[in-house]
């Protein structure tokens, strides 16, 4: 455990595979939810960590350290993630980087898209913007560095690649990941008690759709 200022503590699991580290982090988070220790304000999952934010006048960090050592192995406490099938229109106006990324690997755009949609992904953690999930499980051949300077405007629903991760921009805004397609799915709705479609631990499959289908789903009011 390492402090992050006077009101937060970072628990990090190193030296083990990231997926196992995240399961331990989710197990501790599940227990924190259940026990709601005095002074707990929030928690945030990372790639191999859990940040616990608290009120230092009331929260007992030493007790957390003791209990987390037990909780982290209670995988039964971790809810089985949901499976989401997310429709994607690859390439075209919504996936302006697909051709370039495919060409760099000597692939046709359709082959790149096939490889991307053949994999099963897992939501590692959320961040960057509300509802933005970092998905692991992408074939390593598709990994692509982020743009050196972010684009000013990335449209909502853009399916993108940033390093080893793939992700979906829930709302329009600036972004530095490479854009390979676009989904009509709603990723974030602040009016819902569960506002994000994706939760850490969930599984994701991308299902390729045609451009007319994307347009039809958008006009059907799925957005």
């Amino acid at each position: 455990m390492r402090p992050m200022g006077d009101s937060a503590v970072l628990m990090e699991w190193t030296g083990i595979p990231e997926e196992l580290a995240r399961r331990k982090a989710r197990a501790v988070a599940a227990h924190l939810e259940r026990q709601a220790p005095d002074g707990l304000r929030d928690w945030t999952l990372g790639a191999r960590s859990l940040l616990v934010v608290h009120d230092p006048a009331r929260f007992d960090e030493a007790a957390l350290a003791r209990e987390a050592a037990i909780w982290e192995n209670d995988f039964a406490a971790v809810p089985e993630g949901a499976l989401h099938e997310i429709p994607v229109c690859y390439g075209g106006a919504g996936g302006i980087d697909l051709e370039e990324l495919a060409a760099e690997r000597g692939l046709a755009p359709a082959e790149f898209a096939e490889r991307h949609s053949a994999a099963e992904y897992r939501v590692a953690f959320l961040g960057f913007s509300p509802g933005f999930g970092y998905l692991t499980g992408m074939p390593s051949a598709l990994a692509s560095p982020r743009l050196p300077a972010p684009r000013v405007h990335v449209p909502w629903g853009s399916v993108a690649i940033g390093g080893e991760y793939t992700g979906i921009y829930p709302s329009s805004g600036p972004g530095g990941w490479r854009l390979i397609g676009r989904t009509p799915a709603v990723l974030f709705d602040p009016g819902q008690s569960l506002p994000a479609l994706l939760s850490p631990g969930d599984r994701v499959r991308f299902v390729a759709i045609e451009e007319w289908k994307f347009a039809a789903m958008v006009s059907e009011g799925r957005r």
Binding site: R2, P3, M4, G5, D6, S7, A8, L10, E12, E18, A29, R41, D42, W43, T44, L45, G46, A47, R48, S49, L50, L51, V53, P56, A57, F125, L126, G127, F128, S129, P130, G131, F132, G133, Y134, S171, G173, F188, P190, G191, P195, A196, S199, P200
Partner: protein, 299 residues
């Protein structure tokens, strides 16, 4: 019942409260007042509890028209007037229907807080009334205020006249106290010396997401890390070298090493640091940080 109409909204005025806890798991930042100390002082002067929603006005001035009889608590403004007549900016301001209240620019800081008796009534979104303008939700219609907007408040009787505490009168420090960030050990001795000896200028590209710092003291970046949860006050060093201090609307996770984290008692200094202002950092012991926080809570 509508309580006031915005006549001149100022540069960037939003509804804020103490922010969202328990939403970072969905990638939702904490939001809330950038200077929580001034915000609770303004609320107290308006007869409200510290949790009431109020206006956070960046720079200013702003002008509002009372639509009913109300009372205002204002913190950080150089001047206040009612129908053109100067009022005491340190005390409860009473306004009758039709009165125009002008809240002047900050006396020294960057943000002025304007509370109304009863607190501003906007819907709770994920447990808070704070605006997250970058994502378009919370506060008043998810955005900064515009001329003509009419806002409601919760019902409350008019409070007795109160004044801001004298502790609000001191100058805003140009030094913020920090604790080591989780990646402190990745920075070399000479990088750390540069950082702590350096004076940084607050960049004009700063906003409610991050305070960007320019200056000779910027330490070279030691590379990136596995993304992890971050907090308001974390000092990140991206590859460009210009440190970014995360503010309430900043992202909830980040992959840049953190050289330092501002102590909770000094977060208000960040909220009041306007572009062009010079800032220094000073390492303190954890005990001093906690003591400073307790003193502030007791003040």
């Amino acid at each position: 019942m509508k309580t006031f109409r915005v006549v001149r909204p100022g540069l960037f005025t939003t509804v804020q409260d103490q922010g969202r806890t328990r939403a970072s798991r969905w990638g939702v930042p904490v939001s809330g007042c950038a200077d929580p100390l001034s915000a609770s002082a303004a609320n107290a002067v308006a007869g409200n509890g510290a949790a009431a929603a109020l206006l956070e006005a960046t720079l200013g001035p702003i002008e509002i028209e009372a639509l009913v009889e109300t009372a205002l608590g204002i913190a950080g403004a150089a001047s206040v007037s009612v129908n053109g007549e100067p009022a005491n900016a340190r005390e409860t301001v009473y306004a009758r229907r039709g009165d125009r209240v002008v809240v002047g620019a900050p006396s020294e800081g960057f943000r002025v807080y304007v509370a109304f008796a009863g607190g501003i009534d906007v819907p709770l979104v994920l447990g808070s009334r704070s605006t997250l303008a970058s994502a378009g939700f919370g506060g008043f219609r998810g955005r900064k205020l515009s001329a003509g907007d009419e806002l409601e408040t919760f019902e409350a009787s008019l409070p007795e006249r109160r004044a801001l505490p004298s502790s609000m009168d001191g100058p805003i420090p140009d030094e913020v106290r920090v604790l080591p960030g989780p990646q402190r050990d990745r920075f070399s001795e000479s990088s750390l010396r540069r950082f702590f000896d350096g004076t940084f200028r607050v960049s004009s590209r700063s906003d409610r997401r991050g305070l960007r710092l320019e200056g000779e003291g910027a330490p070279p970046s030691p590379g990136e890390i596995a993304p992890e949860g971050v907090v308001f006050g974390a000092v990140q060093v991206p590859p460009g070298g210009e440190p970014i201090v995360l503010m309430p609307d900043g992202p909830v996770t980040g992959g840049y090493p953190k050289i330092a984290v501002v102590i909770r008692a000094d977060l208000p200094v960040l909220g009041q640091s306007r572009p062009g202002r010079m800032l220094r950092f000073r390492d303190v012991a954890r005990e001093e940080a906690i003591e400073a926080w307790k003193t502030r809570c007791g003040a």
